[in-house]
């Protein structure tokens, strides 16, 4: 079995929002919608204050509350773990949005454009009325993943089979891959690093991991440093 997951290395993310821009460009989301959002968080108290950038979005949970509550079966989970929305089935009740603990879902009722009332040429070309009045969210670029797999490419390794946000990351903070494959890039990263998932206590089994330190093995950090 395959389970596609995403990893954000919080030590590397510089908060440049390139992933956000790449996602918007790839998926043509309206101005107020950010499927790949990067939080700019201040933690600690003066003088020990740190700034942390936290990429978020749909966590593609293994037990997604959005799917369970969806009355129309528009939200489903694929065998590879990607949570999808069928825009033709969705009624736009927003129940999924209040069920999602990650604020990853959006509903846009009216067409809005980046520069005023008129769409730019790319916006006009790619405008999809099926996405109005329904729930939308990050798809893990499932179309790219699927197309890449058909070509024999490896998602997370080959850019043509990898989500746009991961491809665009200037700091190699974002990673994508199959967690069930012990030799995958993401499995190795999870093995070599300390990590957490957001709101794990809710039992949603998210598919989005955050790296925050090197893992400790036999009293040593996996990069050779001492604990």
């Amino acid at each position: 079995m395959t389970r596609w997951v995403m990893i954000a290395d919080l030590r590397r993310c510089v908060g440049c929002q390139t992933c956000t821009a790449a996602c918007k460009h790839t998926n043509d989301t309206p101005p107020e919608v950010q499927w790949r959002r990067v939080l700019d968080v201040e933690v600690g108290e003066y003088p020990e204050v740190k700034r942390v950038f936290v990429p978020t979005g749909c966590q593609h949970c293994a037990d997604p509350p959005c799917m369970h509550v969806c009355p129309s079966t528009a939200t489903r989970k694929r065998a590879d773990g990607i949570v999808t929305i069928d825009y033709d089935l969705c009624i736009g009740c927003s129940y999924c949005a209040v069920a999602c603990p990650y604020q990853a879902r959006y509903r846009t009722d009216d067409a809005t454009y980046a520069f005023g009332l008129r769409p730019t040429a790319p916006e006009a070309k790619r405008f999809d009325p099926a996405r109005l009045g329904v729930a939308t969210k990050c798809t893990f670029c499932s179309d790219r993943v699927d197309a890449g797999l058909e070509k024999g490419l490896k998602p997370g390794v080959d850019p043509d089979a990898t989500p746009a946000c991961v491809n665009s990351c200037i700091a190699t903070a974002l990673h994508f891959g199959d967690k069930e494959d012990p030799n995958s890039n993401v499995s190795k990263l999870l093995e070599e690093n300390e990590h957490f998932r957001m709101h794990e206590e809710l039992g949603t089994d998210p598919g989005f991991y955050y790296l925050w330190d090197k893992a400790v093995k036999d009293g040593c950090k996996t990069d050779g440093g001492e604990e």
């Binding site: 939080l39 369970h68 009624i91 009740c93 209040v98 603990p101 990650y102 604020q103 300390e194 440093g225």
Partner: protein, 279 residues
């Protein structure tokens, strides 16, 4: 749009969704008393229709909120896990049995309607409980708080309805109100104790006064009025509907606050801080 890790009020469900819980809950509770309080056939029929109208108004209100109104029938597609689908199925059954009960003036069908109405308000409680993104809603005891609030509102409205129809003070409705406001107070107390730690101060600040009103305006005032009405017979016809209005107002206010003012999400959590620059 810039969001930090701090919670903010969800904007997906507004007052239109709240009205489904307010009117649907009151209508559901009211149907219970419409079915079991002894009344002349015309009054019984009018009560059933009023209860159904309230439920229908609540559903119509939430229908106004959905993004794709013409696809509303898709709401029936997921009975396996979605309480919204289950609520919809129960609503269909409720209208079928309620209209049949009113048409045939059947006590058995009215009893069935009451049972289904209880199922309807239970579904409403479960809808909130399944909303994992909203701490004030996902607390499991919300189900019984919503349930007993609906019964209290229904009993309160029935006392008002009976007074307006010149039917006096139905003892069953008065007894139902006493039981329901006490049960609602207990349910609020249990819910409050369990949800407190999960709520941010702003959510607590919004919820607390409305919850306190469930005790004061929603329980103490109706109980006092009913007691006074029991002691002074002439006062009873005024006291009972006033008690009903108090119970109703407290319940409606609480649900409005729960849905619209205290519905903060939980924001984002950062349980670990990245360790940077270590050699």
């Amino acid at each position: 749009m810039s969001y930090g890790p701090k919670p903010w009020i969800q904007l997906n469900w507004d007052v239109r969704a709240a009205l489904n819980f307010i009117l649907g809950g009151t209508g559901g509770g009211f149907l219970l008393f419409a079915a079991f309080v002894p009344a002349p056939p015309e009054l019984g029929r009018a009560a059933l229709l009023l209860g159904l109208a309230l439920v229908g108004a609540g559903l119509a209100s939430v229908w106004l909120e959905i993004g794709r109104k013409l696809r509303a029938v898709h709401v029936f597609f997921n009975p396996f896990t979605s309480w919204m689908t289950r609520e919809s199925f129960v609503a269909v059954l409720l209208f079928a049995s309620g209209l049949a009960a009113a048409w045939f003036a059947s006590a058995q069908l009215a009893a069935l309607t009451a049972l289904v109405a209880l199922g309807f308000v239970y579904c409403q409680g479960r809808i909130l409980r399944a909303s994992k993104g909203i701490p004030a809603w996902r607390e499991p005891t919300i189900t019984w708080l919503i349930f007993w609030t609906a019964i209290a509102e229904g009993a309160g409205l029935y006392l008002v309805f009976a007074a307006l129809c010149g039917a006096g003070v139905p003892p069953l409705a008065a007894a139902g109100l006493v039981l329901a406001v006490v049960a609602r107070g207990v349910a609020w107390s249990v819910y409050r104790r369990r949800v407190e730690a999960d709520l941010i101060p702003q959510a607590r600040a919004a919820l607390e006064p409305a919850g306190r009103q469930l005790y004061q305006l929603g329980a103490i005032v109706p109980l006092a009025l009913l007691l006074a009405g029991g002691a002074v017979e002439q006062f009873a016809v005024v006291a009972a509907p006033l008690a009903g209005i108090a119970a109703l107002a407290a319940g409606w206010r609480f649900k409005f606050v729960l849905m619209v003012r205290a519905s903060f999400n939980q924001g984002f959590a950062l349980p670990r801080i990245p360790v940077r620059g270590r050699k």
